[in-house]
Amino acid sequence: MASGESGGSAGDYISHHLVNNTQELVEGSSFWTINADSVFYTILLAVIYLLFFRSVAKKATSGVPSKTQNFVEMILGFVNTQVNDVFTGSSKLVAPMALSIFIWVWLMNFMDLMPIDLIPWLGTLMGIEYMKIVPSTDLNIVFGMSFGVMLLVFYYSFTVKKPTILGYLREFVTHPFAAKGWLGKILLAGPNLFLNLVETLAKPVSLSLRLFGNMYAGELIFILIAVLTVNYTFSDFFTAGGIMVSVMQFILAFVWAVFHILIITLQAYIFMMLSVVYMNMAHETHEDH
């Protein structure tokens, strides 16, 4: 895990690894900028996921499945069980959404296990100075997905539940505190609205920041492990201290990577389950108060 560039300080190395490769769409606008590396890898991983699953789906047989189909069916069956356990309504959307999130987020997280400088080093050979290869350590990516989930929740609320818009808005001011008389209703409207707004906002923020925080921290630890030998020249690796540090670095990176396999799977799973839970909450009506 030695870095390709020598001579820079550890601080430079770390901050270098935490910067996205940005491309401005509109000159001078900080919003109309895209993180080219995140977008590239997120789409690449989406395409890998879709192509792989589509190829299995095309060859899917109800007879004896191939090993690949078996593997895919295992994942599908797992996701299907989880969704059926949590989601009480019936929707053609929720289970595919859960599967997409689970696999896609897992793949994004998996990029964290790639040797930290390998792909960026290949990038420098092609003239790309720096890039972050783990899309889920980019706030834009995680927020993009959690807002996507929230939009689906709203979409689901309006298409499947078919409430009137007025009825939907009324839920904001009549819950969680309900009153019988009109005076109580008016008095409670303010607190209810406040609580509901917080709740509505907290959902996507907690959903995305949980994933982001875990992945960012994991990535940072990989970077810190990599920093151990950041200024080594080739001959440094063959001094007594160099060998010791290298071995330690290898063990640390290995242990953390093994541990991280658990984390990336867990985080992908949590993101999936919370999305399904939010969809289910949209499904449940509050009319029983």
Binding site: R54, L76, A95, P96, M97, D138, L151, L152
Partner: protein, 156 residues
């Protein structure tokens, strides 16, 4: 690290991925899985049915075997009876034949005896006539006295 247009792109890609999954991946694979489940269920049901039928067939075979054994026993008994009858018949036939032949032989013997007796009687009568001729030295007209002689013979 700031929020920028990447978020919008990611959201759009997110929807696209879900849409493709919903349209082209999930139903296909899940359909295959459910179809297989159905097949397995059908296969198991068919297995159960076949097992039951096998049991029924076995029971039927058992009853058939018992019936066949009974019939075989009956046939054997009948055959034995017929055989005995034939044997008895043959025995009685043989006995009758023996009686018949015995009777024939006895009749033959009787006849022979009678014939021999007749000859003997004739010879005796001839002798008697000859003796009488000699005794009375006078020829007896054989023809005249044939009647008398015959009576004599019959008396002997």
């Amino acid at each position: 690290m700031s929020i920028n247009a990447t978020l919008i792109i990611q959201m759009l890609v997110f929807f696209a991925v879900i849409w493709i999954t919903m349209k082209y991946i999930w139903p296909v694979i899940l359909g295959a899985m459910q179809e297989r489940e159905q097949k397995i269920a059908d296969g198991l049901a068919a297995g159960d049915r076949a097992e039951k039928e096998l049991d029924r067939a076995k029971a039927k075979v058992d009853t058939l075997i018992i019936e066949a054994k009974e019939q075989a026993g009956q046939i054997k008994d009948q055959a034995n009876q017929v055989a005995n009858k034939v044997k008895d018949q043959a025995k009685s036939d043989a006995l009758a034949e023996k009686e018949r032949q015995l009777a024939a032989a006895e009749a033959e013997i009787e006849q022979q005896v009678n014939r021999a007796r007749e000859q003997l009687r004739q010879q005796v009568s001839a002798l008697a006539v000859a003796g009488a001729e000699k005794l009375i030295s006078k020829e007896v007209d054989a023809k005249k006295h044939a009647q008398l002689l015959d009576e004599l013979i019959a008396e002997i």
